[in-house]
């Protein structure tokens, strides 16, 4: 998908060699929800997904990441976000 936090990349490149790490948030500091789609105009996640991100495991995060390209292209049918735990 190629969306990653460019500032994080910048910091990391100046701080430490790349670590083997978990799936990082796709947020790029746009943080504006589209009224039409209910998705963020920057990272294409729903408010539900953004709120729950910190508590998700890697499989759940990957499930979202895998949908982002399609959402960005507007070719997905804007599937319902993955069900959240404990709501």
């Amino acid at each position: 998908m190629g969306i990653s936090s460019d500032l994080r990349v910048l910091f990391l490149s100046m701080v430490a060699p790349p670590q083997a790490r978990e799936i990082m948030s796709p947020c790029i500091s746009v943080c504006k929800i589209s009224q039409a789609t209910g998705l963020c105009l920057g990272c294409y996640r729903s408010l539900d997904e953004i709120a729950a991100w910190s508590e998700m495991n890697d499989a759940q995060r990957k499930g979202i990441m895998d949908q982002l390209s399609a959402r960005a292209l507007g070719t997905s049918e804007l599937q319902r976000p993955a069900p959240e735990e404990g709501q």
């Binding site: 969306i3 936090s5 460019d6 500032l7 994080r8 990349v9 910048l10 910091f11 990391l12 490149s13 100046m14 701080v15 430490a16 670590q19 978990e22 990082m24 948030s25 947020c27 790029i28 500091s29 746009v30 943080c31 504006k32 929800i33 589209s34 105009l41 920057g42 408010l47 539900d48 953004i50 709120a51 991100w53 910190s54 508590e55 495991n57």
Partner: protein
């Protein structure tokens, strides 16, 4: 899996760089508390995100780890909506209450923040009930002289703000203006080690548990900065320019100068580097373009990922 490390009465809302992370605490009486509120540009989004997490509770309290624009920019909007009280670090209380622009970090760095009215302060040694458990306040100078961190000793959970990230820590601002910050940062890392947290919620980036590794990286980074303070100055320049570009999204060098040319921290930093401020700005823009953190379209610099929307 990070979730079991935290408490059921708290929730981390992970943001990015322009807005710092938030921590929501579910308190008694259908109320809640929130640590840090993001950048003013995102205030409407932050209100929605926080409301989503609150599940109908009233946000009774806002707590700021420090008064930098990416941590307190949503204070005004959230406090207006929920009639929340705002607690800030003691050292910043009078400055914020009087809204002394010449002493507020965001003015000094060319950033923005909507005025808010703090109702009280927190200081080293204070204890505070959040989400039904007692949190201890520790002074955490270095990144900002007035910064605090929060620690819950039973479950050993820490809200470190910008004193420790998984890969480093925030810009050591005092050093840019000829004041001490590296030594304070060193002591804060020692303090964090002595508290021995199991999970750390940083101001930016995901919750992490490999605290020893993070401390080792932070100490390596600090050593590298102390060896040659110009490294801190160059790093700060790039961070400040990139931050401003995240806010503006598109700007020419001369538009950036309008914001940064009067920002004292930038002027001090350029002085440290013995560069005229315009040359310092040009240098940081060029570095950011080279690093892929900015794109250039003729005279206009663009933050990547920003599309006409």
């Amino acid at each position: 899996m990070v979730a079991p490390l935290l408490l059921p009465s708290m929730r981390v809302l992970e943001r990015d760089w322009l807005s710092a992370n938030h921590v929501v605490f579910f308190d008694s009486g259908h109320t809640a508390s929130l640590v840090d509120t993001g950048y003013v540009k995102h205030a409407a989004f932050t209100c929605n995100l926080v409301s989503h997490a609150l599940g109908g509770r009233r946000l009774a309290r806002i707590i700021n780890t420090h008064l930098h624009s990416d941590h307190c920019g949503g204070n005004h909007a959230l406090a207006s909506r929920h009639d929340s009280e705002i607690l800030v670090p003691k050292g910043s209380f009078e400055i914020a209450r009087g809204w002394m622009l010449e002493r507020l970090n965001f003015t000094l760095t060319g950033q923005r923040c909507e005025r808010f009215h703090p109702s009280g302060f927190l200081q080293d040694g204070d204890h505070l009930m959040l989400g039904g458990v007692e949190w201890h306040i520790h002074a955490a100078p270095g990144h900002d002289p007035d910064s605090i961190l929060l620690f819950e000793p039973t479950h050993r959970i820490m809200i470190s703000a910008d004193a420790l990230w998984e890969d480093g820590f925030g810009v050591t601002f005092p050093e840019l203006s000829g004041e001490s910050g590296f030594e304070e940062q060193r002591q804060v890392l020692d303090l964090i080690e002595s508290l021995n947290p199991r999970a750390v919620i940083p101001g930016h980036g995901p919750v992490f548990t490999e605290v020893d590794l993070a401390l080792a990286r932070a100490r390596g980074r600090l050593h590298w900065l102390r060896e040659d303070p110009l490294r801190n100055a160059r790093y700060a320049l790039k961070v400040l320019v990139k931050f401003l570009m995240l806010d503006l999204e598109r700007a020419t060098a001369s538009q950036l100068m309008d914001y940064l040319g009067k920002a004292r921290v930038l002027l001090d930093t350029a002085d440290m580097l013995a560069m005229p401020v315009t040359a310092a700005l040009d240098w940081s823009l060029e570095s950011l373009v080279k690093a892929g953190a900015l794109q250039r379209e003729g005279d206009v610099f663009v933050s990547p990922g920003v599309t006409a929307a």
